[in-house]
């Protein structure tokens, strides 16, 4: 009798653990447990994994705030790296609940994912050496050596619209461009001014680089989420509104972009609804 009981218990245990592993894949679907959020790991000021294993940056602060409003503690957040090319796939596959990773809202992306926000308005801009005053307008780029990240929208923008004749070097990452800029192999690094401000604000770079302040494009950063999830979209929008009204937005901007002397735009109106 005893034996049968224990074997029954073992059987139940087995079945339970099987069932648990079976739904382990989508256990972060419901509130209360963990939440997976996609950010960038390599953009100082925006989303950065630091050597002590922490995550810092404006997107991280915003995402933490939003998660808190959705009912998740900071310690329940599982940060996931979302490289630009994989953002849509990762949302569609349910790898992350939402993405806050310098993710500009545009029509092409809206066909695959839904957005909440925007929560920030950035512009494509140029980072140049602090003593360089030769670039004042977009057309002066045509005689310059530019650097950007391979396959990025900023690179496309330069090639197609801004300065088709500019000599554009495409590197694997921003750091490589910064090395080129520091060593005078290129004249300017171009991407969103928020990212540039983050790099310029790093203590190793202080006094070396400056933003030109050209507003070459409008990049409205939104929070990407599964297409058609209007409930989550509404909840996140509510959280973003609250973030603006209680002064947290201002605080996050100052903390992350402040040191770069970056003139940020005021908090944008929320446009992505239902």
């Amino acid at each position: 009798m005893k034996l049968r009981k224990s074997s029954a218990a073992i059987a139940t245990g087995l079945v339970l653990s099987l069932a648990l592993t079976a739904c382990g894949g989508d256990s972060d679907d419901k509130g209360g447990g963990k939440i997976a959020i996609g950010i960038k790991f390599d953009q100082p000021g925006v989303g950065l994994k630091t050597p002590d294993g922490k995550y810092v940056g404006f997107d991280v602060d915003v995402a933490t705030y939003v998660a808190k409003e959705l009912g998740y503690d900071a310690k329940d957040i599982e940060w996931k790296q979302t490289p630009s090319a994989q953002r849509e796939t990762m949302i569609a596959n349910g790898d992350v609940k939402f993405i806050a990773a310098s993710y500009s809202i545009n029509d092409e992306r809206k066909q695959k994912v839904s957005f909440a926000g925007p929560y920030f308005l950035a512009h494509q801009d140029l980072l140049v050496r602090a003593d360089d005053t030769s670039i004042t307008e977009p057309s002066s780029l045509n005689s310059k050596k530019l650097c950007s990240v391979v396959g990025s929208t900023s690179a496309q923008n330069v090639k197609e619209k801004l300065a088709p004749k500019a000599n554009l070097q495409e590197q694997g990452g921003y750091s490589e461009c910064l090395t080129g800029l520091e060593n005078k192999a290129v004249d300017a690094l171009t991407t969103d001014d928020s990212i540039l401000a983050g790099f310029a604000a790093q203590k190793q770079h202080q006094g070396k680089f400056k933003l030109v302040g050209l507003r070459l494009s409008d990049e409205r950063y939104g929070i990407g989420l599964k297409k058609g999830d209007t409930k989550l979209q509404g909840d996140i929008n509510k959280a973003l509104e609250k973030m603006k009204s209680d002064g947290s937005w201002e605080k996050f901007v100052k903390a992350n972009f402040g040191p770069a002397n970056y003139k940020n735009e005021p908090a944008p109106e929320i446009t992505e609804k239902g």
Binding site: A85, K145, V150, G151, N167, L168, Q169, E170, Q171, G172, E176, T179, G180, N183, K184, A185, V186
Partner: protein, 224 residues
């Protein structure tokens, strides 16, 4: 299924042409650099032997990706080497060729060294008895025979080099694999078609090399 080929959006031939150019320039360069390295490694000057050995051991054990990225970062961006061009596209291509030569040269060197080993000792002894110097022994007696016995291994190096040119994508050289990456991202529903097109391209490039050089290897091999 293959309709993306007709859209005119992708220039496949251009991309493969870049692959071919990378291969040809790098092959010529590595043959020269590899022979020089082999010469240093078997030569009488201890310093050069040490350099040759050190170079081969370091470079052969480094991933090609690292070498090519280093060419771009260190040579171009820090040392200001532009290889005679102002256009970043041209510079990138030339840097990739340089990286491929630096890497492939070590394999040419090692193949040649094993070829030198196959030449009977008597050949070198006879040459020295005639009063030939080291350079003369190497260039007119040993190397001509060594090359004939290493055609097959060198053919393998060439095939590997052809495939290795894809690594140039890491510094944005617009060769076949970069185009394939772009096409995979844009044509997500036709990835099998995209893959088979590029696979076919590489089979066309590498298979004849293997067959022709295999035949040449048999023709020129020194009968011993």
């Amino acid at each position: 299924m293959f309709d993306f080929l007709d859209s005119g959006q992708y220039d496949l031939l251009e991309a493969f042409w870049v692959t071919v150019k990378l291969t040809v320039y790098s092959a010529i360069g590595s043959l020269i650099w590899g022979t020089l390295l082999a010469g240093m490694r078997v030569g009488p000057v201890p310093m050069m032997r040490a350099f040759g050995t050190g170079y081969v051991n370091v470079v052969r054990n480094t991933p090609l990706t690292v070498i090519i990225v280093a060419c771009s970062l260190a040579l171009n961006q820090t040392l200001g080497v532009t290889l005679g061009s102002e256009d970043f596209k041209v510079i990138g291509f030339r840097l990739a060729v340089l990286g491929l030569i630096a890497y492939t040269g070590t394999f040419v060197c090692e193949a040649l060294r094993s070829g030198i080993n196959t030449v009977p000792v008597g050949q070198a002894e006879a040459a020295r008895a005639l009063g030939l110097s080291f350079t003369q022994v190497l260039t007119s007696i040993i190397l001509p025979q060594a090359f004939r016995s290493v055609v097959a291994p060198l053919a393998n190096v060439l095939i590997a080099l052809t495939k290795n040119t894809t690594v140039a994508a890491a510094i944005g050289v617009a060769e076949a694999s970069l185009l394939m990456k772009e096409m995979i991202e844009n044509e997500a529903d036709a990835i099998f078609a995209v893959f088979s097109v590029f696979a076919f391209g590489f089979i066309v490039l590498t298979l004849p090399t293997g067959l022709v050089l295999g035949w040449v290897a048999k023709r020129v091999a020194v009968k011993r």
